[in-house]
C-alpha cells in the first residue's frame, strides 16, 4: 500500500476528522454512563461534563460589610470596586479574586471567592440500587419519596434472559435444516419457495402482529414467554435461513459428493458434516438474533403487554421514560443496565457479527 508515501497533510486531516467524529459518537453514551454514577442531587444541579477537572469559584471568606459604607455609591472590597448592582453580579479584583454581594442592599453579606480546581467528583451506586431492587428503597431527604418502590429491573433482566435465550436457540436448528435442504437437495419448487423466503426478509412485523395476537388470545398464550419465543422464531427464520444458506451452499461440493458416494444419507451428512462446518455461520446468526431479541420492544410490547412479572428490560425502561421522565438518576442507570449484556456480547463476538452483517445485508 502507498499509505506510507502519502504526504503528511492528509494524515493529520484524516486523524483529526476521525477523532472529531468518534467523539461525537462516543459522547452521548459517555454522558449516560457518567451520569448513572453521579448522586441524584448532582445530576440535577450540574451537567455531567462538569466532572472533568475545571476551575470554579470557591468562597474563601464571607463577611458583613461595615454599616457605615455608602451603599448607593462605588464600594471597594479586597481590591474589587463596583456599585451595588455590579457587585451583585460579581466583580473580579486585579489579583484574581472575585467579590460577590449576597442578599439585599441593606442587610447583605459579601463573599470573597477564589478560583480553585475541582476535586474528585462524588460517585454513588445508589442509582443502580434504586433501579435494580424491587422492594422498597429508602431515599434520604424528601419524605414523600422515602419509601418509594424500586424499579425492579433485576426482575426485568431475568425476564429478558428467559425470553432471549430460547428465542435464539429454537430457530437455529430449524433454519440449518431448511438451509441445507435448499442448498443441497433437488426438489420441485425449490427455487420458488426459497425466493419467497428471501422476499419475506423485509416484511414489516406490523403486518403479522394482529392476526398472531388474535390466535394467541384464543390459545391463552399472550403474556407468556412462550408467545415471544414462537413469534421471534417465526420472524427470525427468513434471515436465519438466508444467512445459513449463503454459508452452507458454498461448502465444497467435493466433500458432499464424497460422502454421498460413501452411502451416507442426507441426514447423516447434515448432522456429521454440515452442522459442524457451519459453526461460524451459526454463531453469527446467534449473535444477530440475540441482539435483535434482547433489544426488541415492539414484539414484547404486543405479545407480553401489561402482564406484570413478565416485562422485559426494554419495556421497563420505556415505562420509566413515561413515568419518571425527569428522574435522570434512574433513567441513566436503568439505561445502562439494559445495555450491559448486549455490549458485552457485541464486543466479545464482534468478528462473527460483522461477518453476518456482510453476508446478509438485506434485513
Amino acid at each position: 500500500m502507498a499509505k506510507s508515501k502519502g504526504n503528511p497533510f492528509p494524515r493529520v486531516f484524516v486523524n483529526t476528522t476521525l477523532v472529531v467524529i468518534c467523539l461525537l459518537w462516543l459522547i452521548p453514551t459517555l454522558g449516560l454512563f457518567v451520569s448513572s454514577f453521579r448522586p441524584r442531587d448532582e445530576i440535577m444541579s450540574s451537567g455531567w461534563w462538569t466532572i472533568l477537572p475545571h476551575r470554579v469559584w470557591v468562597t474563601t471568606e464571607q463577611f458583613t460589610p461595615d454599616p457605615s459604607i455608602d451603599r448607593t455609591g462605588v464600594m471597594n472590597f479586597e481590591g474589587a470596586t463596583g456599585t451595588f448592582e455590579q457587585l451583585r453580579q460579581g466583580v473580579e479584583s486585579p489579583d484574581g479574586k472575585r467579590v460577590v454581594w449576597i442578599g439585599n442592599r441593606r442587610a447583605g453579606t459579601v463573599q470573597v471567592q477564589e478560583k480553585q480546581w475541582t476535586g474528585i467528583p462524588a460517585t454513588t451506586l445508589q442509582n443502580y440500587r434504586d433501579v435494580l431492587v424491587g422492594k422498597n428503597v429508602t431515599i434520604e431527604g424528601n419524605a414523600e419519596e422515602a419509601a418509594r418502590k424500586g424499579e425492579d429491573m433485576a426482575d426485568a433482566f431475568i425476564n429478558s434472559m428467559a425470553v432471549t435465550f430460547p428465542a435464539v436457540v429454537i430457530p437455529i436448528l430449524m433454519a440449518a435444516f431448511a438451509a441445507y435442504g435448499f442448498a443441497w437437495m433437488r426438489f420441485p419448487g425449490r427455487k420458488l419457495v426459497f425466493a419467497l423466503m428471501v422476499a419475506l426478509l423485509v416484511v414489516p412485523l406490523q403486518i403479522a402482529l394482529v392476526p398472531v395476537l388474535t390466535d394467541y388470545v384464543h390459545l391463552k398464550l399472550n403474556g407468556t414467554y412462550m408467545s415471544v419465543w414462537l413469534a421471534h422464531t417465526g420472524f427470525g427464520l427468513p434471515l436465519a435461513v438466508f444467512l445459513l444458506y449463503n454459508y452452507i451452499s458454498t461448502l465444497p461440493r467435493e466433500i458432499m459428493e464424497a460422502a454421498i458416494v460413501d452411502g451416507a444419507s442426507h441426514f447423516k451428512i447434515f448432522w456429521r458434516l454440515v452442522l459442524p462446518l457451519s459453526t461460524p455461520a451459526l454463531a453469527s446468526f446467534a449473535i444477530f438474533q440475540f441482539l435483535w431479541v434482547w433489544n426488541d420492544y415492539l414484539v414484547a410490547l404486543i405479545f407480553i403487554g401489561n402482564v406484570p412479572g413478565v416485562q422485559v428490560l426494554t419495556m421497563r425502561l420505556a415505562d420509566m421514560v413515561g413515568s419518571r421522565g425527569s428522574d435522570w438518576h434512574l433513567l441513566t442507570a436503568g439505561g445502562f443496565v439494559s445495555m450491559l449484556l448486549p455490549l458485552i456480547v457485541f464486543f466479545s463476538l464482534q468478528r462473527y457479527f460483522v461477518r453476518g452483517l456482510t453476508a446478509g445485508s438485506v434485513k
Binding site: 453514551t29 423485509v202 416484511v203 394482529v210 414467554y225 439505561g335
Partner: protein
C-alpha cells in the same frame, strides 16, 4: 437338498429382515408419537409454568432445541423405511417443511389476514371495502405521518450513507482504524429504547433560570442562546432531532459494509491514478465510489427499510406527539390505542406495500447471483 437350501434360507432370511424392518418402523412411529406428545405437553407446561424463570428458560431451550432435533431424527427415520422413490420425495419435506410452516404462519398468512381485516370497519363487523384506505390517504394526520416518513427516508438514509462512507474512507487511512470503527459501531448493540434514553438526556430542557443539564441546551445557553424544547418545537424540524438518533445508530452498519467494499477495490488502480497525479478526493469520487456502487445501493436499501419501519425511537421520545408520528407508530396508535382495527390494518398494509420495491430488488439480486 443342498442345491435348494440356499434359496429357502434366503427366503426365510428375507422374511425375517422384512419383519424386523416392520417392527423397527412401528417402534420408530411409536417413539415419534411419544416424542410429539411429550413436546406438546411441554408446550402447556411451559405456557402455564410457575417455576423460577431461569429454570423455565433452560427447559425451553432444551424443549426447543432438543425437541426439534428429536422430531427431525424420527421423521427422517420414518422416511427411510419407505421405498427409495418415496424417500427422494419425502426427505426434502422433512428438512424444509418445519421452517416453511413457521414462516407461513407468522409472516405470509398474517399478511393476508391483515389485508382482509383492513376491508372491514373499526371493530371488524361490517365490510367497508376500501374506505379505510381512503381515510389513510386523505386524513390530515395521515398526511403528516407520510410527510414524516419521507423526512426519515431522505435525511435518515442520506446522512447514514454519507457518514458511513466518510468514516470508512478515513478509517482505511488511519492507524486507529479498529478503535475508530469499534466506537462508531457500538450504538448498534444498544436497543432503540436505550438510545432514546441516551438522546433524551442530550435534548433535556429546563426552565431558563435553572442550570441546563442537557448537553445541547448547555451549549446553546453557553453561546448566549435560549434553551429550547428540541423535540417539541419547530415542527416539522423536530423530526430531525429524532432522525439524528437513528443516524447515530445505523452509521456503524453502513461503515462496516463500505469498509469491506473499499478494501476490495484493487490497489493497483488507485496506485496508477496516484502516479498520474490524481488527488485523494479525485481518487475517492472517480475510482472508489464507482467501484463500490453495488454496496452503496444495498446499504441504501437496507437503511431505507429500517427507517421505514422505525417505531421504538418515536414511541419512546414523543409517543408520536408534536407532529412526529410515523407509519409504524400510527399503526400502533390506531390499532392498540384507538382500537380502530380496520384503519390500523390498512396502515400496516400500506407499510408492507412501501417495502415491496426493495423486496423485488432483493429477489432480482438473488436470482442474478444464483445464475452466475
Amino acid at each position: 437338498m443342498t442345491l435348494l437350501n440356499p434359496d429357502a434360507d434366503e427366503h426365510s432370511a428375507e422374511l425375517a429382515r422384512a419383519r424386523r424392518r416392520r417392527n423397527r418402523a412401528i417402534f420408530t412411529l411409536l417413539a415419534g408419537i411419544v416424542a410429539a406428545i411429550v413436546l406438546f405437553e411441554g408446550f402447556f407446561l411451559l405456557r402455564d409454568s410457575r417455576a423460577p424463570k431461569l429454570v423455565v428458560a433452560l427447559f425451553a431451550m432444551i424443549w426447543g432445541g432438543g425437541g426439534m432435533a428429536i422430531l427431525y431424527l424420527i421423521a427422517n427415520q420414518l422416511v427411510e423405511f419407505t421405498s427409495s422413490q418415496w424417500q427422494r420425495r419425502l426427505t426434502p419435506v422433512v428438512f424444509v417443511a418445519p421452517a416453511i410452516a413457521f414462516v407461513v404462519y407468522f409472516l405470509a398468512l398474517p399478511a393476508v389476514r391483515t389485508f382482509i381485516a383492513s376491508l372491514f370497519d373499526r371493530d371488524g363487523s361490517n365490510f367497508v371495502g376500501l374506505a379505510n384506505y381512503i381515510t389513510v390517504f386523505t386524513e390530515p394526520f395521515m398526511l403528516v405521518t407520510f410527510r414524516n416518513n419521507v423526512l426519515w427516508i431522505v435525511f435518515g438514509a442520506s446522512f447514514t450513507i454519507i457518514f458511513g462512507l466518510l468514516v470508512a474512507a478515513l478509517a482505511d487511512r488511519s492507524k486507529f482504524e479498529n478503535l475508530a470503527k469499534a466506537i462508531i459501531f457500538m450504538p448498534m448493540a444498544i436497543s432503540l429504547v436505550g438510545a432514546g434514553v441516551i438522546w433524551k438526556f442530550i435534548y433535556a430542557v429546563r426552565d431558563p433560570s435553572d442550570v441546563q443539564i442537557g448537553l445541547l441546551n448547555a451549549i446553546v445557553t453557553a453561546l448566549g442562546g435560549e434553551p429550547q424544547a428540541w423535540i417539541a418545537m419547530l415542527q416539522p424540524w423536530n423530526n430531525l432531532f429524532l432522525i439524528v438518533i437513528v443516524v447515530w445508530m445505523q452509521t456503524g452498519y453502513a461503515m462496516v459494509l463500505f469498509s469491506a467494499a473499499i478494501k476490495s477495490v484493487p490497489t493497483d488502480i488507485i496506485e496508477a491514478a496516484r502516479v498520474d497525479g490524481a488527488g485523494e478526493f479525485k481518487i475517492f469520487f472517480s475510482i472508489i465510489i464507482p467501484s463500490i456502487m453495488g454496496t452503496v445501493v444495498t446499504v441504501s436499501a437496507t437503511v431505507i427499510i429500517f427507517t421505514l419501519k422505525i417505531f421504538d425511537v418515536v414511541l419512546v421520545m414523543t409517543g408520536g406527539q408534536y407532529g412526529t408520528d410515523v407509519i409504524a407508530t400510527q399503526f400502533y396508535n390506531q390499532y392498540f390505542v384507538n382500537r380502530n382495527f380496520g384503519l390500523g390494518s390498512a396502515i400496516a398494509i400500506i407499510l408492507l406495500l412501501t417495502v415491496v420495491p426493495v423486496m423485488v430488488y432483493n429477489l432480482r439480486q438473488f436470482n442474478k447471483r444464483e445464475t452466475l
